[in-house]
């Protein structure tokens, strides 16, 4: 289990290889990668700054991963979140989960990114042709995380 906050890019193939290393029981790997889009809320995005709250960030991500491991039958999970200056098509975040079977790996990966989106202290500021703006939180993110609080079937 690992969480990392970094300014540099990541290679998903290398990260998966490291996560799987020394565990030949792994049968399923599910990953989510979030990337910078060149449009958001109908405006062109030229560049983006990812800010976080050092000290709290790793603690919040750790807590989310610990919850996922308690809740789902998985082997391991990794979260990498970039901060600093990013441009359209850049990778922002990686969530990777390994398990014996795919059901738990899918659920855990989605659980982690849903919680990250509502509980981890990151903020996006976009540069658009009309100026800089802080990105608004999406209500669909709150709905996504609420689903895990009522859904006991998955």
């Amino acid at each position: 289990m690992a969480v990392r906050v970094q300014t540099t890019d990541f290679d998903v193939a290398q990260e998966i290889a490291a996560l799987r290393e020394s565990n030949p029981r792994v049968g399923a790997v599910v990953t989510f990668i979030g990337t910078v889009r060149d449009v958001n809320a109908d405006a062109q995005v030229l560049q983006m700054t990812l800010e976080h709250y050092p000290g709290m960030t790793e603690k919040a991500l750790d807590a989310i991963v610990v919850q996922a491991r308690q809740r789902f039958d998985i082997y391991d999970a990794l979260v990498i979140h970039r901060v600093g200056e990013l441009r359209p098509t850049d990778q922002i975040v990686l969530v990777a989960v390994t398990g014996a079977h795919r059901g738990a790996a899918f659920d855990a990966c989605r659980f982690i990114i849903d919680y990250l989106k509502t509980e981890a202290p990151f903020w996006k500021k976009e540069q658009t042709p009309e100026g800089a703006r802080w990105v608004d939180a999406r209500t669909t993110d709150d709905e996504a995380v609420a689903r895990w609080k009522t859904d006991t079937t998955t």
């Binding site: 509980e119 981890a120 202290p121």
Partner: protein
Amino acid sequence: MNDTAIRHTLTVNVVYLARLREAFGSAGEPLQLATATATVNDVLTALASRGGAFATELAAGRAVRVAVNHTLVSREARVQQGDEVALLPPVTGG
């Protein structure tokens, strides 16, 4: 703490993040409260009473979350001498 009986004020370190840092023109500050015990709500009320951007951004109904010593807490949570009390606008990572 053993010294609460003799202290009549409480100082916490407030941290302003992202949009709030820009709105307040500050990354944070020590805040002294004129009481020996206080909650997160008391901290927010003391800040909002300054008026201006503080009153606007911390008005009832505005989506601001609070972390004490790096853990999200409710408005009713107690704050202690020396705590780091961070004010977080809605997060948008991922």
